[in-house]
């Protein structure tokens, strides 16, 4: 009641746990799986032991400073804007009532459905020289191009804006959850100590929410570093575009891997900073009592300001680009919706579905192997596999392609030499490679969801079931599965949508003549056929809305102080 202890006690009552690593079939399978999914990372990191001095000298002379500068500026800009657009609306909708605040609570999440490259295509279509906005400016004023100044969308600043508009919801989501979780008593006590509303936010609510905000920010940073579609389209040279260019332009896969390793250093550095700041500030809520949040009604002026501040990111990050896409799609859909498009749809959906199912099965296996055990080895392996989410798709593609090509070539050489049979390229350039890369990147999503669900089933429930004579299979079927059904569906859907949206890894690894919605959108946009790109883009956005709805449902049911809190 007084101090919330670290909730590690969940598995304490289990009598079945083993205290150290045991070599069983179960554990061996876990090790093999973990090793398999750590191959891409190992390959990328291992590449630094094969110096490519000539290429590096060239890179250092020409583009490397650009990569570093642009990546850093992009990171800083997106982080800053995401904080601004995420934290303040989160506070406003949590603590105050103003016009439409109820709707904005979930609508602020909508830009999450919008992949960065798609919002980039939309705004370029709108704001480019030939876009509707500048055209009407010229028509109305009679100016010519060059007669007036107009901000250039395809620039570093543009990339920062685009990424911020679709990534701020991560910060919003976590900040809001943290604000809701805060005991209202802590805020009330600050008022008895002479704090007004702004002081209470600055001195109490914000510092308390900082660990959660940092988690949101780290997601933003990872997504920013992983972005390829936006920066490529805007012609901003960053690490991801650099990796592409080094591989396909210079034809040097090792240097590309080394560049990937350098990018990973950035990711790792940030993750370290984030972890450290969280360790320094791991607050135990001293108050377990929650009174219902009493939202304060804002007066007219303040309410209007709050409405504008909250509505602006949502409108610019979702409503405007979607309207533009719909407008363009309405012109083109009749000759886009043909056999080719349905094949595209089928490819994308089946690929996403297959990956999601596999990810769920592997996650279930790993989560169960971690239950009922205290083994730090097991836990480390599962954590390690979960790291894939922090690795940009481009890097994973590089890390997958190199070893798979090596395997194919070695096998082919071996077979040709000994049996005079050529196996050709057996796995590289197939769906298998692609799904493997997706799994490496998105396993973390399903593992985290499944582990959380399994963690809620206390071992004592198993024990109760055992006393009624139920078998292990019976326990899983009649107790675990019904309790986890919702979470398993969530895990499935999250991976499904992530795969559907994924661009750079698909671009590199897809089999010849095999296209997905994301790749087709990218190709059409790069051929300056934005109107044609609108239909597949809308399909991706539509799918992206599913997890947004699920997330907003789950947060509105988890308000602390409500009876529904479990």
């Amino acid at each position: 009641m007084l101090v919330t202890p670290d909730s590690q006690a969940i598995s304490d009552s289990s009598v079945f746990k083993t205290s150290s690593f045991v070599f069983s079939k179960w554990n061996s399978a876990l090790v093999v799986l973990s090793l398999l999914f750590s191959i891409p990372l190992a390959v990328v990191l291992g590449s630094i032991f094969f110096p490519e001095t000539k290429v590096w000298a060239h890179l250092a002379d020409t583009v490397l400073t650009d990569y570093i500068f642009n990546s850093l500026m992009l990171l800083l800009g997106v982080a800053l804007f995401s904080l601004l657009l995420g934290v303040i609306p989160a506070w406003l909708v949590t603590m105050y009532r103003f016009p439409l605040s109820r709707y904005l609570e979930w609508a602020l999440l909508l830009p999450m459905a919008m992949p960065a490259y798609i919002i980039a295509y939309s705004y370029t279509g709108m704001l480019d020289v030939a876009g509707p906005l500048q055209t009407s400016i010229r028509e109305i004023s009679g100016w010519q191009y060059h007669d007036y100044w107009f901000p250039e969308v395809r620039s570093l600043g543009g990339a920062i804006t685009m990424l911020s508009l679709v990534l701020y919801p991560y910060v919003y989501l976590l900040a809001r959850a943290a604000f809701i979780e805060q005991s209202i008593c802590v805020l009330e006590v600050s008022r008895t100590l002479g704090c007004n509303a702004v002081d209470a936010f600055r001195r109490v609510a914000l510092p308390l929410a900082r660990p959660a905000i940092m988690v949101g920010l780290s997601l933003v940073v990872m997504e920013t570093l992983a972005d390829y579609g936006t920066v490529q389209y805007f012609g901003v040279s960053t690490f991801t575009t650099g990796i592409f260019r080094t591989w396909f332009g210079l034809g040097n896969s090792v240097a590309a891997a080394q560049l990937s390793a350098l990018l990973l250093v950035f990711v790792a550095a940030f993750l370290y900073l984030e972890k450290r700041s969280r360790r320094l500030a791991r607050f135990h809520h001293t108050s377990s009592r929650y009174s219902n949040l009493l939202q304060q009604q804002l007066n007219k002026g303040a309410g209007l300001f709050a409405l504008i501040f909250c509505a602006l990111p949502m409108i610019s990050g979702f409503i405007i680009p979607v309207c533009f896409l719909i407008d363009m799609a309405s012109d083109t859909y009749s000759h886009i919706l043909n056999k080719d498009f349905y094949l595209l749809l089928f490819n994308s959906l089946s690929l996403a579905f297959a990956t999601a199912i596999l990810a769920l099965l592997i996650a279930l296996f790993m989560a169960y192997s971690n239950r009922n055990t205290d083994s730090t080895v097991n836990r480390f392996l599962v954590r390690f596999v979960s790291m894939g989410y922090a690795i940009p798709g481009t890097v994973i593609a590089v890390g997958v392609l190199i070893p798979f090509a090596w395997f194919d070539n070695t096998l082919d050489a071996f077979l040709t030499e000994h049996f005079n049979i050529s196996s050709g390229l057996l796995i590289s350039g197939t769906i298998v490679t692609l799904i493997f890369a997706y799994l490496t990147r998105f396993l973390a999503v399903s593992i985290n969801t499944v582990e959380a669900a399994l963690g809620k089933i206390k071992p004592v429930m198993d024990e109760v079931a055992k006393t009624t004579g139920m078998s292990s299979a019976g326990i899983i079927k009649r107790i675990h599965m019904p309790m986890m059904r919702g979470s398993l569906l969530t895990a499935l859907l999250l991976v499904f949508v992530d795969v559907l949206k994924e661009l750079p890894a698909t671009l590199i690894l897809r089999p010849f003549n095999f296209n997905t919605l994301a790749v087709r959108t990218y190709e059409l946009a790069n051929e300056e056929r934005l109107a044609a790109a609108a239909v597949p883009a809308l399909a991706i956005v539509l799918a992206g809305i599913i997890p947004v709805i699920m997330i907003s449902n789950s947060i509105s049911h988890s308000r602390a102080g409500n009876d529904s809190k479990k």
Binding site: M1, L193, V204, P207, L208, R210, T286, S287
Partner: protein
């Protein structure tokens, strides 16, 4: 206005439901008052109304000669200069003990800041803990930090919401006595809220008994116990039973256990039917007495037994008996009356 706090005829409704009705009381400078009542009686709402978290639709709240609220004007919480300790203390988990205590000390120079911190740390014996974080403190320590934090800016009044509810039962009375000493030493006017009469007795100079939104009686603990003004107060404070009686004259009431002498605080007309409050300490066990009652139940309380006794007529009484008088259930024992305070209430039948 010599009182530090004055509540004049305050009524509060929340969402159309009447929570408090016509509450009036005052607390002397440096006094400790306790609002006592069962949960849901409105005592916490009253405290939050004084703090400024709730608004009344009738009546006034005065703190230190300043009218802080009436139905039209409502001074915001942060401008009332109050200190409040919440039920679970609500310490700021992101700040050390020292930073928690000095949270409200903004406008002091370094020397005075340090001086106030040192004073409080010493007053509350927190020397060993000032660099710790709240989660590593025990419940009692957390409470002292919360108290120090509330007292730091020298508020006009200190409000305590169920200050002992989060503590172990064994510690409560001891901590209540310590707390009273600390508050008395500082001389700050205090209002606390409790549902536990023993805590209220240990802490407060004066107690207001509340039930269903009404303030039933505002008095010292001794008077609440021995001279309750209503049967509800008599029922809530202490233990006892009501037996029927009839007023013989203004100093004597006739009951089935004999005539009881004494002066009732509320005058009752001769011949009137009444109920008489009989406390367990009014009934003494006496082996020589001719009046007998059968033991129906007994509860061991260490030094004493609390016997539930039954007369031949079926009337039940409670009696506190030293625990070396161990009588089995159903045994008849001799009893004797020794009533100092006659408490009668009119009976309507």
């Amino acid at each position: 206005m010599t009182r530090a706090i004055n509540i004049n005829d305050v009524s509060v409704s929340i969402e159309g439901r009447r929570i408090l009705e016509n509450i009036s009381f005052g607390v002397e400078e440096a006094g400790i008052a306790c609002l006592l009542g069962p949960s849901g009686c409105g005592k916490t709402t009253l405290l939050r109304c004084i703090a400024g978290f709730e608004k009344q639709h009738q009546g006034e709240v005065w703190i230190k000669g300043v009218r802080v609220s009436n139905p039209i004007h409502h001074l915001p919480v942060e401008q009332r200069h109050i200190g409040m300790v919440f039920q679970d203390y609500a310490l700021f988990p992101h700040l050390s003990v020292a930073d928690n205590i000095t949270f409200a000390l903004k406008n002091l120079n370094t020397k005075m800041f340090k001086q106030r911190l040192d004073e409080l740390v010493e007053l509350l014996s927190l020397q060993k803990h000032i660099n710790k974080y709240p989660h590593s403190l025990s419940g009692g320590q957390q409470q002292r930090v919360a108290l120090a934090r509330a007292m730091a800016p020298r508020p006009g009044v200190l409000l305590l919401d169920e200050p002992f509810a989060s503590l172990d039962v064994e510690l409560r009375e001891q901590i209540a006595r310590e707390l009273r000493q600390i508050i008395k030493q500082d001389g700050i006017t205090t209002i606390m809220v409790s549902h536990n009469q023993l805590e209220a007795f240990a802490m407060a100079d004066v107690i207001g008994v509340m039930n269903e939104g009404h303030l039933l009686q505002w008095d010292k603990a001794f008077k609440l116990y021995h001279e309750p003004e209503t049967s509800e107060v008599a029922d809530f404070i202490g233990e006892g039973v009501f037996i029927p009686g009839e007023v013989i004259n203004d100093k004597e009431v006739k009951t089935e256990i004999g005539n009881i002498q004494g002066v009732s605080p509320h005058g009752v007309a001769q011949g009137k039917k009444v109920t008489v409050l009989i406390r367990p300490d009014d009934i003494l066990h006496d082996d020589d007495s001719k009046m007998m009652a059968r033991v129906k139940d007994k509860a061991f309380r260490g030094a004493e037994f609390l016997y539930t006794l039954e007369l031949d007529s079926g009337t039940r009484l409670l009696s506190l008996v030293p625990s070396h008088h161990n009588h089995p259930v159903n045994e008849p024992i001799g009893i004797r009356l020794e009533i100092d305070h006659l408490v009668v209430f009119p009976r309507n039948d």
